[in-house]
Symmetry: C2
Subunit: 145 residues, 2 copies
DNA sequence: CTAAACTGATACTATATTAGTATCAATTAA
DNA sequence: TTAATTGATACTAATATAGTATCAGTTTAG
């Protein structure tokens, strides 16, 4: 069971790269090269993120992509929803064979509770938080050298 | 993002059916019919569960499958692991491009923490618990009629 | 004013996973 | 002995994920 697909994984990495250089445009090519993400694949992800107003772009030479939203307001839950669809535990347990009355189906409640937990855990993880964690980790690495 | 695949979903339903008739053998056919699960598909799932010692079988006429383990000791986490592989959030964030030092990679910690949360939430949900919830729900439905 | 470095849009292929079907041999109870 | 069953396994279909290719339009540097 894989929770994050490459889509989401690459998108997170790209956002981290853009957040680290906030205010300036980074080309898809440079992000792809530096972070080892397939170029054309990444371009599609970036365009998707534009559609969701997470980033903006500038065409032409010296163009590229730039953060639009505050990294602290972008959660992993959002990214999962964009690239993997809404978190849902199961569509199939709600059949009448299992629980006669949908509205009262306790299984459903159980499942929806877990859905909530999963979602809210991923909501705690924002791009901003990841970026800060990353910087801290890098500092530790620097000192070691 | 779908957390439970049909595999797991069907397996849970089959286990609930078997738990409800604990001590007697239920044929794959009867379970398939009653719970609207594709017959051959179900058979494979049942065999997989035998291999994991969750259930036992008896061949021949009047044969079928029967619970082996205590339903309270079968967790949804276990079933996910059997049918969907171990819960893992992402294999890809651990590259050196993102976090120079694997051991200290904070992203990794973040991800592993979530992995733990997801797993332990599903561990709280046992077949036994689901069965009791289900019985309660059915009683409520009965009264309404 | 033109060439090169870019994004926008979109179509395409490849691979993996999930879902479902089919078949035949072996076993067992009536 | 035969019909109802599981054991084992091979196969197909559908869907999701991953990755590639192409061409048109925009912009800036020279």
């Amino acid at each position: 069971m894989k929770v994050l697909t490459k889509n989401t994984d690459y998108a997170i990495r790209a956002l981290l790269a853009l957040s680290a250089k906030k205010g300036s445009y980074l080309s898809a090519k440079s992000i792809a090269t530096e972070h080892d993400i397939p170029y054309q694949f990444l371009r599609r992800l970036l365009q998707e993120m534009i559609r969701h107003d997470l980033i903006v772009s500038k065409e032409g030479v010296q163009g590229g992509f730039m953060m639009e939203k505050d990294p602290d307001e972008i959660t992993v839950t959002q990214l999962i929803e964009i690239f993997q669809g809404k978190v849902q535990v199961s569509e199939c347990m709600f059949r009448k064979q299992i629980c006669g009355n949908r509205a009262r189906c306790v299984l459903r409640h159980e499942i929806m509770r877990i859905e909530q937990v999963v979602q809210s855990e991923f909501e705690k993880v924002t791009i901003g938080k990841l970026l800060r964690d990353l910087e801290t980790a890098n500092q530790v690495n620097q000192k070691e050298k």
